[in-house]
């Protein structure tokens, strides 16, 4: 197995990417409508940005992000690459190259000036929008938290795309003691059962002082393919959680009692009475 340093591999790769980028930019000056050239330039920028930060070239990544943002507007056809834009883009490309190959010889004043020029050309009317939109945060409750009551329903084809609901329940268990009850009401009889579909739903009582965001992190990859309700447990509710979770089952003529399966998670915290 090769043991090459990824940063060194990146330097070599970047050198080839700069050749491709320069060629595409020069040709764009002649053929500004050639979408293929725009795509080539964009792909080179994209890789330089994506790889740069991973291998410690933070300035390369942040500068290239601005550069790429400008080109994204060209790619979408919002802006035509005229000679001015090509010239500034070439200067930006040289600056990034120096940041990688001889960072001690660069000065951020040069980079800032190039970015100012670039922004002026691509978004003259939007300078005031420099601030990024704030990321929405779930409101955090101020009072001490003892846990969460969750109801979980996945879309039926969740299994097809490589997600495993049981793994996700295990991950919930890492946040605190869980009482997990599988709801089997929708499970059909065997002759109608498609084994690649998920028919189960779950109610979970999670005893943890974790934030809501920690729960969302568990389901981050499937949040658009599920219904998740999360209700904070009040302190007084905690000892009763089991009783509330597992009320006497109503008679269900279509689902025999033995088909119901209660999945008890290991209790990891003391004093819950579970």
């Amino acid at each position: 197995m090769t043991t090459l340093d990824p940063a060194e591999v990146f330097r070599q790769e970047a050198s080839e990417l700069f050749e491709a980028l320069e060629g595409a930019l020069l040709d764009l000056g002649i053929r500004p409508d050639d979408k293929e050239l725009v795509d080539t330039a964009f792909r080179a920028l994209h890789t330089i940005k994506g790889s740069g930060a991973m291998f410690g070239f933070d300035e390369v990544a942040s500068f290239t992000h601005e550069f790429e943002t400008a080109f994204d507007r060209v790619r979408k056809g919002e802006i035509k690459p005229d000679q001015d834009l090509v010239s500034v883009a070439l200067a930006a490309k040289d600056y990034i190259r120096t940041l990688i190959e001889a960072p001690e010889t660069t000065d951020s004043i040069i980079g800032d000036a190039i970015l100012d020029d670039l922004r002026r050309l691509v978004e003259p009317e939007e300078r005031q929008k420099a601030g990024a939109a704030p990321i929405a945060q779930a409101p955090a409750a101020a009072e001490a938290r003892v846990g969460w009551q969750l109801h979980i329903e996945f879309e039926s084809d969740i299994l097809r795309n490589g997600s495993n609901p049981l793994d996700l329940l295990d991950d919930l268990g890492k946040l605190g003691a869980c009482f997990v009850m599988a709801l089997t009401d929708d499970v059909p009889f065997l002759d109608e059962l498609d084994p690649e579909h998920c028919f189960l739903k779950w109610d979970v009582t999670l005893h943890s002082d974790c934030e809501r965001s920690a729960i969302d992190d568990v389901f981050i990859f499937v949040q658009d393919e599920m219904k998740l309700t999360c209700t904070p447990l009040a302190a007084a509710e905690t000892p009763l959680a089991v009783a509330e979770l597992a009320p006497p089952l109503q008679p269900e003529p279509t689902v025999p009692e033995e088909k119901r399966r209660v999945r008890n998670k290991p209790i990891m915290s003391a004093g819950t009475g579970l």
Binding site: V9, E13, K49, A53, R160
Partner: protein, 121 residues
């Protein structure tokens, strides 16, 4: 432990994936674009595919759709790498059948965390 395919036109990203996952005991196989990735996935059973989206020849979205079109590979986790914070891109890849994503730039422990989330021994 797990058989993992990394599909990326960037050799440095592939190398990063390799030097991160190999010491954790995983066997990492490389492919330089979607078409190569598809061929390798047809020939060998992988426990996880990690693919870039923006690639020449066959891009990541096309690869994900092609992999999901193979009945034998249903349920195989597929993670895509993206530098986009754009939700629409994530949604499109998820609709194509991806299991999850890793946002670039990522640190080695972030990659390990996602792999351990989707590959259980």
């Amino acid at each position: 432990m797990a058989n993992i395919l990394t599909v990326d036109d960037s050799p440095s990203i592939r190398q990063m994936v390799k030097v991160t996952l190999a010491p954790a005991g995983h066997n990492v196989v490389e492919a330089g674009d979607g078409a190569q990735g598809l061929e390798k996935a047809k020939a060998t059973r992988f426990d996880l595919v990690i693919t870039d989206l923006n690639m020449p020849v066959m891009n990541g979205l096309e690869l994900i759709k092609a992999l999901r079109g193979l009945p034998a590979l249903l349920g195989m986790p597929i993670v895509f790498l993206t530098t986009e914070s754009n939700e629409a891109v994530k949604l499109e890849a998820k609709k194509a059948g991806a299991t999850g994503w890793i946002t670039k730039p990522f640190k080695q422990d972030q990659l390990l965390a996602v792999v351990s989330k989707l590959v259980r021994s």
